[in-house]
Amino acid sequence: MKSHFSHQLVEDNKIVFLITEHRIDLNKVLNDISDTSAGAVALFVGNVRDHNSRGKVSAIYYEAYKEMAQNIMALIEKETVDKWGLKKFIAIHRIGTFGVGETSIVVAVSSEHRKEAFEACKYGIDNIKSRVPIWKKEFTPTGEIWVEGISLHG
């Protein structure tokens, strides 16, 4: 997957992490996550919502500390693969400015059985959201606002 801004970590074809300014290709993710030894694939797709707790949202902007994001993503992916014995793990986060309905993040996992797939996928997205240094700004009718996010604890 080409990008003006991307970091990709591939280890034994099991783990892929990408930060990109380009639109995320979900069909490619589904194709890449498949594995003949995996009976289950779990996919989380995060899209830009048209509202927040205060009102309408017209667009969002994501900004990343790319060097640290790559390190923490690698750690999260290793934790997830090791804990649930995954076949593959893919996480892609889009940065830059884009609109409502567009996909900002994808986490995909494949495993032998569905229990591991569901749990690993949730673990992956929860930890990416809370630990990876990527910040979000929402554009609303009343102005722009940065949304509080990460804890930066490794």
Binding site: E63, Y65, E67, M68, N71, P133, W135, K137, W146, E148, I150, S151, L152, H153, G154
Partner: protein, 72 residues
Amino acid sequence: MSDDKNNHNYALITVRLFANLREMVGKSEIKLQVGNTITVGYLRKKIYEVYPLLRSANIPFVVAINLKGCLG
């Protein structure tokens, strides 16, 4: 942050800023002269001295040093 210069008493460090901090300061990177051994609290205080607007804005921020998150 990175340690750019060391002598007996101080170090010149690079502080990278992101998101709302970057916007308020107007730069993505600043240089600060600090002691050789500092705490997160001291760093925060030093930043506030140079950019008092950040103190009054009372923005919560997180600190990472050499790509590792810090408490405090």
